[in-house]
């Protein structure tokens, strides 16, 4: 249990403000001022620079298995990414990725 002395609301409000601040930062203060081409060139890769790094530890060392690589989760990740790449369809990636995960978890126990 979280101790009673924890300033829960202070943490909630400051995290809310801080998160909004991060999201508002450039959008709010730079606005439509022109950024140099080299900056724009880097920003084009934001999504592919963040998402793979965000999921890699969860895929290779899932917390649910105590950090040991798990064949069902690895296969699920490969299928989800592969289907999403080929079909460009998030829905098919979810369906086939989820089927792989639950199918293998069931088969491998």
């Amino acid at each position: 249990m979280i101790p009673d002395s924890t300033p829960i609301w202070l943490i909630i409000v400051l995290l809310g403000l801080g998160t909004f601040g991060l999201r508002f930062s450039f959008l709010g203060f730079i606005g439509d001022r022109q950024m140099p081409p080299w900056v724009l060139r880097h920003l084009r890769y934001t999504a592919v620079a963040v998402f793979p790094g965000l999921v890699a530890p969860m895929v290779f060392f899932p917390e649910a298995t105590g950090g040991t690589p798990d064949p069902s989760r690895l296969a699920c990740a490969a299928v989800t990414l592969g289907v999403a790449y080929v079909t460009k369809s998030v829905l098919w990636a979810f369906i086939l990725g989820g089927a792989t995960l639950y199918g293998l978890l069931y088969l491998l126990g």
């Binding site: 979280i2 829960i8 508002f24 450039f26 592919v48 998402f51 790094g53 990414l81």
Partner: protein, 237 residues
């Protein structure tokens, strides 16, 4: 800009966002369950989901409060998890910067990973779309995603019973991000950036406060931009 095109952009966004209900619902519910089990009441749980709307950071904050970490550490760690949002903000500034300030503030509040991923893919593939169309698409994506986040946080907080680990709900998030990464791998520079991000984040797992991810992301952006200059000098101009 006719209102019919704006409307169709809105519905295109809503359609693209809809599959994420499958992911957001269990993930939000899991948060509600874990938050109440950690001792938060329903109002505090909803306070987090409405004021922060950032699942990973919310889970991190709960875990650190359970570990009785000092308040400053809770704040720094959870905000470090959210640092990537500033990168999303920077990437949207040149595209949506002409929107009125209140709309930019609203977008900032709603700029969750799914909003960013789907909208940025749309802006890359349809750069000619008008600003109002771009905004309509973004608000369309948000429509199925964010209310589900609120609603199922509430369901989880009220139901509040442990979800069996065999449901493997921990993997909802990796599935969501992988499904978003696939379509974003449009060119060789995108693929190279993704590889650097993946390998970099794994090698930098030892860096405190989750900052290894941010370092890996910066390296990946540099590799992507450099590869674009070398391989596709036309696109880079």
């Amino acid at each position: 800009m006719s209102s019919t095109t704006t409307k169709s952009a809105y519905w295109a966004g809503a359609r693209d966002g809809a599959p994420f209900i499958l992911i957001m619902a269990p993930f939000a519910m899991l948060f509600g369950v874990i938050a109440t089990e950690a001792g938060l009441n329903v109002i505090e749980t909803m306070g987090m989901s409405v004021l922060i709307i950032a699942g990973a950071a919310q889970f991190t904050a709960i875990q650190l409060m359970l570990d009785e970490a000092p308040t400053v550490i809770v704040l720094i760690t959870a905000l470090a998890v959210n640092l990537r949002m500033a990168m999303y903000s920077a990437s949207f500034a040149p595209i949506l910067g002409k929107a009125p300030l209140w709309k930019r503030a609203l977008i900032a509040y709603l700029l969750v990973d799914q909003t960013y991923a789907l909208s940025s893919l749309r802006y890359e593939t349809k750069p000619e779309e008008s600003l109002s169309g771009k905004l309509a698409y973004l608000f369309g994506v948000v429509t199925p995603v964010v209310p589900v986040w609120y609603a199922f946080s509430y369901v989880g907080a009220v139901v509040g019973t442990q979800i069996p680990e065999s449901y493997a709900l921990d993997f909802a998030i990796p599935i969501a991000f992988l499904a978003l990464t696939g379509p974003a791998l449009r060119t060789l520079p995108h693929v190279l950036a993704a590889l650097v991000s993946c390998v970099g984040a794994l090698l930098l797992l030892w860096v405190p406060f989750n900052l290894g991810l941010i370092i890996a992301a910066f390296l990946a952006m540099m590799v992507g931009a450099y590869a674009e200059l070398k391989l596709m000098p036309k696109a880079a101009s």
